[in-house]
């Protein structure tokens, strides 16, 4: 473990430098706010878009949910694959049942167009 001490020191120095720079500049640096400076940058034009009124596509939520389900399935499959040889048939059948349940969900999702982005 002692070989990793320099890495820890380097990490500490990096964090100290980053935090120190930000702290010093926020303490000491000039502060002259005015409404135009605080407005969002739009290549010099007056800001047009309403930030809170912009809508967010629900497709992102759908992708996240699907990813979550099938990723948890993968998390279960990986350790099973490592010990499968010791378990034999008694280990094979429950996993097939598990995957079959999720495969039904997958087929349903395919049929309903859940994987179409547009």
């Amino acid at each position: 473990m002692a070989e990793f001490l320099p890495v820890l020191v380097l990490l500490a120095v990096a964090v100290a430098f980053a935090v120190g720079s930000i702290a010093v500049s926020s303490l000491v640096g000039p502060r002259k706010p005015n409404p135009t400076k605080l407005a969002p940058y739009e290549s010099g034009n007056a800001p047009l878009a309403r930030v809170r009124g912009t809508r967010f596509s629900v497709k992102f939520y759908l992708v996240a949910m699907l990813f979550l389900v099938f990723d948890i399935e993968a998390v279960f499959v990986y350790p099973w694959a490592v010990v499968l040889r010791e378990l034999g048939w008694a280990g094979f059948v429950p996993m097939v049942a598990f995957v079959a349940v999720l495969a039904v969900a997958f087929v349903y999702e395919l049929g309903r167009g859940g994987l179409e982005w547009d």
Binding site: S26, L27, V28, G29, P30, R31, K32, N34, T36, K37, A39, Y41, S43, G44, N45, A46
Partner: protein, 162 residues
């Protein structure tokens, strides 16, 4: 907190000011504001022959928030003037303006209805570089003179600029 703006003007700060001004002048990042022909000469100044990177200025930041120096290179029309002012306002302090070429300095050969006769009607200018367009060596001369001015500044002067 802006402690720098509130420091009193005095002898005690001279060395600190020298250090800070040296650091600021040697890492002055320009904002891209190339409008017309002078922009070509500004690009040539950034090229390998007249290298502006040796003065720490090669990174032309597209965002005004990350830039220190606005080089107004070219003609400013009346339609562009509010955009120029807004970009200047959105630059973070400390900031400087260099007016490159005669069109930005005084309207140049275009003495007419369409152009602002001198960009100092719109933003406060620290250095004027004449020329149509100024050769890269002339622009570098102007930039080095601006470096000298920055190194001679005090914190109080910079704080007084609004």
């Amino acid at each position: 907190m802006g402690l720098e703006d509130k420091l009193p003007n005095g002898v005690l700060l001279t060395n600190l000011e020298r250090f800070v001004n040296y650091a600021r002048s040697t890492s002055l990042w320009p904002a891209t504001f190339g409008l017309a022909c002078c922009a070509i000469e500004m690009m040539a100044t950034g090229g390998p022959r007249h290298d502006i990177a040796r003065f720490g200025m090669e990174v032309f930041r597209a965002s005004p928030r990350q830039a220190d120096l606005m080089i107004v290179a070219g003609r400013v029309s009346h339609k562009m003037a509010p955009v120029l002012r807004r970009i200047y306002d959105q630059m973070s302090d400390p900031k400087w303006v260099l007016s490159m070429g005669v069109c930005a300095t005084s309207g140049g050969m275009f003495n007419n209805y369409a152009l602002v006769q001198g960009v100092d009607h719109v933003v406060p200018v620290d250095m004027y570089v004449p020329g149509c367009p100024p050769r890269p060596e002339m622009l570098l001369d102007g930039i080095l003179k601006l470096h000298d001015r920055i190194r001679g500044e005090t914190f109080a002067e910079q704080a007084a600029k609004s």
